[in-house]
């Protein structure tokens, strides 16, 4: 019994530093932010609340509410496109590429991950710009007469995001696919299932948890990202993170920035609740 107790005291000593760090620099700041979101900016003074005025404004002021909708739309589109593009890629690497070359193929497929995030968005700016290579190629081959407006559009934001998340999802889906025993597919084939039926009824359901985990990760990272919409999307329509940064920068409106962040946090929580059934996060 005393041994057990000594062990417990020892264990608490091991866990305490990490818990203390998380409480001090994550939970406490988060609480401060919630409190801040219930304050209000009057002139240059921050007046302590509690006051729900900021939240009312988010849902009644069209310029703010639109940011919410824009972010949700972009994030959903990006998540769907990325999964649809990454799944076949992961599948081909796992099933078609010879085992000897698989690790290399996967490594190559995610190598551009190691460019800096800011630089990657910038590189897309070069590709899609007014005199970027796509416009130059299309102009010279005579497909178009005037350069296409590709940057500072929602499409550019989506392309930049999809590029990043296709790599991320290829990794997570591949990890799932190679864990599948080939016996499942063989059994399905023995029972008379064609290639498509095997995929539809065996492979896909078995890899669904991996897909949902990856999709959730995509959702969280995408909806909270400021860099990609700011560099590629421009200022025509502002996403939620862009609005948050705008409140901080130009107006110094900490309360409103905090309220928008709390809303962002709530959206992620709802998304988590919606996928919790399939998520494997609790395993870690």
């Amino acid at each position: 019994m005393s041994f057990e107790k000594a062990g417990r005291r020892h264990a608490i000593k091991l866990v305490a530093p990490a818990l203390l760090w998380t409480l001090t620099f994550f939970v406490l700041p988060f609480a401060a932010m919630i409190w801040m979101s219930l304050s209000s900016l009057q002139g240059r003074e921050i007046i302590s609340g509690p006051d729900t005025g900021n939240y009312v404004r988010i849902f009644s002021d069209p310029s703010l509410f639109k940011g919410l909708i824009v972010s949700l739309e972009i994030t959903v589109i990006v998540t769907v496109i990325s999964v649809v593009l990454a799944y076949p890629l992961a599948w081909i690497i796992a099933m078609r590429v010879p085992a000897k070359w698989q690790r290399l193929a996967l490594l190559l497929a995610v190598l551009p991950f190691w460019t800096s995030y800011v630089v990657r968005s910038y590189a897309w700016l070069l590709v899609l710009g007014q005199n970027g290579i796509i416009n130059v190629a299309l102009l010279q081959s005579g497909f178009i007469a005037e350069p296409l407006q590709l940057v500072a559009t929602r499409s550019a934001t989506i392309i930049g995001f999809v590029h990043f998340f296709v790599m991320l999802l290829t990794l997570t889906i591949y990890a799932n696919l190679i864990q599948l025993s080939p016996n499942y597919a063989r059994a399905a084939a023995d029972l008379g299932a064609g290639a498509f039926a095997t995929f539809r009824h065996v492979v896909l359901p078995l890899t669904l948890p991996g897909i949902v985990t990856g999709a959730f990760l995509t959702f969280v990272l995408c909806i909270g990202d400021y860099i990609t919409p700011q560099i590629l999307g421009g200022n025509n329509e502002l996403s939620l993170p862009q609005l948050i940064m705008l409140q901080l920068g130009r107006r110094g409106d900490f309360p409103m920035a905090s309220a928008l962040s709390v809303v962002l946090m709530l959206i992620v929580t709802i998304a988590y609740a919606a996928c919790a059934r399939w998520l494997k996060m609790d395993r870690v």
């Binding site: 866990v15 818990l19 081909i92 078609r96 070069l126 296709v166 990202d225 948050i244 962040s261």
Partner: protein, 256 residues
């Protein structure tokens, strides 16, 4: 079907490598704009970038923050994983949940929370504040990786060491840590990478002593320039070199 597979693979690689290829190619541009026609090759933008004092000090800052914050994350994560994996504690599910919670929160929110707290305490933004933020995002990662890697065979080895009279500290130092060498390296390397490339926390929590991503961000303000291509390419090539080195040494035994 087989042909379709290879065609898809080829197209996917074109999409994935298009921006990287453009980035690398136009880093060797001769003229002032990194757009076609290509009129290099020239190394002048690399020379400019390497001679840029602001950029070099930003690299120094990034490196220092990445190193220090990763060491702290790894240490705290390792101890916590050991405590929660080896002993039955009341409320351990809650503690695990709390420790990995920052993983599901956007960096922007973590940054804004810290900024709010620090400014209400009257503490000015600094490199230290950025480091604290980076530990917040990397601690859950280190904890999760190490917690998942702690198995029963290590438990038995630890027990044996304890029976032979090793102190708790020596058990951790001489038995647990060496047995977890690969996951420890993986966690450390991932932390360094995330910290090195992290933008929004560093952007909001530093003022003058900025990190590399923030410095690159301010380069973008003055428009397109092959100099940005050059620094981007350099960072990419160094990362790839480090990655290959690790792949060939530390992670070699790990099956694909």
């Amino acid at each position: 079907m087989r042909f379709l597979s290879w065609a898809y693979l080829a197209l996917a690689f074109v999409f994935i490598y298009l921006p990287v290829a453009v980035l690398l190619l136009f880093s060797f541009q001769e003229s002032r704009l990194p757009v076609p026609p290509f009129n290099g090759p020239s190394l002048k933008w690399y020379a400019k970038v390497l001679g840029d004092a602001d950029l070099m000090s930003a690299i120094g800052h990034s490196f220092a923050v990445a190193l220090v914050s990763s060491i702290i994350s790894l240490l705290l994560g390792f101890l916590a994983a050991q405590g929660l994996a080896r002993y039955r504690l009341p409320g351990s599910v809650l503690m695990r949940g709390l420790l990995i919670a920052p993983m599901t929160v956007s960096y922007l929110i973590i940054a804004l929370g810290l900024l709010t707290m620090l400014s209400s305490l009257g503490i000015k933004p600094s490199l230290w504040a950025t480091g604290i933020g980076h530990v917040v995002i990397n601690l859950p990662l280190c904890f999760a990786i190490l917690f998942a890697a702690m198995g029963d065979h290590q438990k038995n080895a630890e027990r044996a060491a304890r029976d032979l009279g090793a102190s708790e500290f020596n058990v951790l130092r001489l038995v647990t840590a060496p047995m977890l060498f690969a996951p420890l390296c993986a966690a450390f390397f991932l932390s360094v990478t995330f910290s090195w490339d992290e933008f929004i926390i560093a952007f909001l929590l530093t003022r003058f002593d900025v990190t590399l991503p923030v410095e690159i961000w301010s380069m973008l303000r003055s428009g397109l320039s092959p100099a940005t291509n050059a620094i981007g390419s350099l960072v990419f090539l160094v990362s790839v070199a480090v990655l290959l080195m690790l792949e060939l040494t530390v992670f070699r035994k790990k099956p694909a």
